[in-house]
């Protein structure tokens, strides 16, 4: 892998991790389309991907540092007391309810699923499916919107992240397991879950990013020992992690602003079109 390829992959990873378009799907399909002679599933890539994940997680923690401060305090208070008495305690426990199924299924199925499906053509197929999921979720959402209101007013009819039910948080968190399939977007399925649970688009995105942070950070932190056990250009990897972090930060800020009135449709159509194009080109 050359320096430019490393920075390109970092940019791709950082940007697509939070956009509802599947970072894993792009990481599998794009190098194949460019005829790059490396596979990200290769064990020598672990330190590189670890640092990229840590870069992305750091960007999310910086972006939501106030929320995280409240969530950590709320988690400790709620866990010790065994009772939820404040909004930040409820949000902390909602994130816990969402993280348990995602972590559990990921723990059991990550390796077998990635080994089975991490091929470019299969990833392209799942990208098309991801597009269909996003478009279907938006179509279902439109049914529950009042048509006589402006987009901003329509959004105000829906809930904030703290108001989601525990069952919905659990199901939304569990849906993250679908993202183990390369081409299915973690943020995509969690935003769809949030929308179907009655959240505003912006709040669904915020809940999705908060839900993603512990899992992305844990995935990175758990691989940290590999950084020291395998030889590789660590300075280059660290620089790439900064690029991934910056891309993730800018992406998250863009998406939060976009979802004030924007919808998932453009990303749905993009995934369907890109997946179809990749299938044709990878024949």
């Amino acid at each position: 892998m050359t320096d430019w390829q490393a920075f390109f992959i970092a940019l791709l990873q950082g940007a697509t991790e939070l956009f509802p378009v599947s970072s894993l799907g792009h990481a599998v399909v794009v190098p194949a389309l460019l005829h790059w002679a490396f596979r990200q599933a290769d064990p020598s890539f672990v330190p590189f991907l670890t640092l990229l994940h840590l870069g992305t997680a750091t960007a999310l923690v910086i972006l939501y540092w106030r929320d995280w401060l409240g969530i950590v305090k709320g988690f400790v208070r709620g866990a010790v007391r065994g009772r939820i008495e404040a909004e930040n305690e409820r949000l902390a426990m909602l994130l816990l309810a969402g993280t348990i199924p995602g972590g559990l299924i990921g723990f059991l199925l990550e390796r077998p699923l990635k080994a089975l499906f991490a091929t470019p053509r299969v990833a392209a197929l799942f990208l098309i499916l991801n597009g269909a999921i996003l478009l279907t979720a938006e179509a279902l959402r439109r049914r529950s919107e009042r048509r006589d209101l402006s987009r901003e007013e329509q959004e105000q009819q829906f809930k904030s992240a703290q108001q989601i039910t525990f069952k919905a948080a659990f199901v939304t968190g569990g849906a993250q397991a679908l993202a183990l399939l390369p081409g299915i977007s973690r943020s995509g399925v969690t935003i769809c879950g949030g929308l179907l649970a009655g959240l505003r688009h912006q709040e669904a995105a915020r809940f999705s990013f908060l839900l993603a942070t512990p899992i992305i950070a844990a995935a990175g932190l758990l691989e940290v020992p590999q950084l020291f056990s395998q030889r590789g250009p660590l300075a280059l990897y660290a620089a790439a992690a900064v690029v991934a972090g910056l891309a993730a930060y800018i992406s998250a800020r863009f998406l939060i602003r976009y979802f004030r009135a924007g919808r998932l449709d453009p990303y749905g159509w993009y995934c369907a079109a890109f997946g179809l194009l990749a299938l044709i080109l990878l024949r």
């Binding site: 064990p43 988690f75 709620g78 866990a79 065994g82 009772r83 939820i84 008495e85 404040a86 909004e87 305690e89 409820r90 426990m93 816990l96 309810a97 993280t99 348990i100 972590g103 559990l104 723990f107 059991l108 199925l109 990550e110 390796r111 077998p112 844990a218 758990l222 691989e223 020992p225």
Partner: protein
């Protein structure tokens, strides 16, 4: 804010937590190697840590959903 408890759910989640404590120990001592990259290794600390984190999360959740005395 929320005072209702769910004893059945609390029991299930607590049992899941206890199960993952055991799974964590089994991974740590190398007695289990399911879904690991190196099944021949003597210890699987990474999987043990993940299982322990899931166990703690389940036990916290069980504490929150258990019925409380008024």
């Amino acid at each position: 804010m929320e005072t209702r408890g769910n004893p059945a759910l609390a029991g299930v989640v607590a049992a899941l937590g206890a199960l993952f404590v055991i799974i964590s120990a089994l991974y740590a001592f190398g007695a289990v190697s399911f879904a690991t990259s190196d099944p021949g290794a003597a210890h699987h600390y990474k999987h043990a840590l993940v299982a322990l984190a899931i166990a703690v999360a389940c036990l916290v959740a069980a504490n929150v959903v258990r019925p409380k005395a008024a």
